[in-house]
Symmetry: C2
Subunit: 135 residues, 2 copies
Amino acid sequence: MKIEHIGIATPKIEDALAFWRDALGLEVVHTEEVAEQGVRVAMLPVGEPRVELLEPTHSGSPVAKFLEKRGAGIHHVAVRVADIRAALARLKEKGARLIDEEPRVGADDCLVAFVHPSASGGVLLELVEHRDAAP
Amino acid sequence: MKIEHIGIATPKIEDALAFWRDALGLEVVHTEEVAEQGVRVAMLPVGEPRVELLEPTHSGSPVAKFLEKRGAGIHHVAVRVADIRAALARLKEKGARLIDEEPRVGADDCLVAFVHPSASGGVLLELVEHRDAAP
């Protein structure tokens, strides 16, 4: 089994591409209109994902607040990058609003930084750099 | 760049595992408590994803309704399977509520079927079978 894609609803693909293609650097390889579903799609290939289940351990934590506000469901998407500081610099240069200007240590002893959902069209995006291995 | 994981907020990991591990068949390879973030995590590896931007082409479409109700953001997660009918049978057997009991044709001429968000803890899950190539 493989994760094939993560579907992201957007009012206007062209606007969303300003983030996903231009700021993040992904490439559009396929666009299509699926008339039956009343939808237009653009596909941008990426890599090797994991499902991460997040359970709050106290009531004031970010995940607890998320659950209170939105209920259970998708919380964020994480992308692995080779150089998190370079990725943050590029995003900042492109005008993307960052939650973390500097990387910090996250799960699995990785360097992580969050990009604000307003930058990506409603998706909380996490950048992850593995410190002890090639990406 | 690679998609590393998709974060899913859940009130109780053990309950969520009934879907992700037991019904869907993924394996837990790592669990950890990240005290600073007030969170417990469980990692279940998966495969090769794409970002799919979805733009509605008429106001009554499912994606238009989603945008109206929730705003822009993550809409669904799709997993590629070798045999979509076998996957649906297994999910049904495990008690997961299905939106599509039978696969239908989706984007890229694949067979697709949706699993109800109530089955997965709030995530709209799409199963995808490529008909013309090995998975």
